[in-house]
Symmetry: C2
Subunit: 119 residues, 2 copies
């Protein structure tokens, strides 16, 4: 292994320092995984649409389905993912289940994303 490093980059001393510095502040495995999982949830246009819908109003599954012109089942599956990521919460109202945004990080994250896209 130590011999292997020498074979790599010419200016290996500088590089080793950089690698060490960069490694130092790297979050642990679990946090990296959780972060990636969180952003993965934002990374689907159906879920994005659902979140935008919830920006405007608390709304039931059936209405989300109608708004997005998709099946109830597809929406329900996606809501499960949003729930697991704690991006949305829900309350029962009679036969309906009303979903709503869990907290303001959702808006902030999406707003930053939009800003980035506008260059």
């Amino acid at each position: 292994m130590a011999e292997n490093e020498i074979e790599k980059c010419e200016v290996e001393e500088i590089h080793v320092d950089k690698v060490r510095a960069v490694t130092k502040n790297m979050p642990d495995e679990d946090e990296l995984y959780d972060l990636a999982e969180l952003f993965k949830v934002f990374g689907d246009s159906t879920r994005m649409r659902i979140l935008f819908a919830l920006f405007e109003a608390d709304i039931c599954v059936c209405d989300i389905a109608e708004t997005l012109n998709m099946t109830q089942s597809a929406i329900s599956h996606q809501l499960k993912i949003l729930k697991q990521a704690k991006l949305v919460n829900f309350r029962r109202e009679g036969k309906s289940v009303i979903y709503f945004l869990a907290d303001d990080h959702v808006r902030t994250i999406i707003d930053q994303g939009r800003e980035h896209i506008e260059e």
Copy 2:
């Protein structure tokens, strides 16, 4: 179609209003797609690791590979995705290509993600 709506929710009038209100502020197809694509880029722990590395220093492909203990090819493929999303930029320095963060949205988005995870 019009008949179909009546078959759906009992309190359809309220629902129709909600659907209309919610639809009104929905970003267009393209923006939703772009947003989802952007967050998809954050949704992989290898790319997340690369971004954290770039938080600390501008660094070449070979050093990223060594830091993450992955092959040069895998890193290069991921850097291409980060480049396309304009999250990173690069400059040539001799034989090496040095990558660096494109702008501060990257930090803000990731910071918000971390905050969300800490509940």
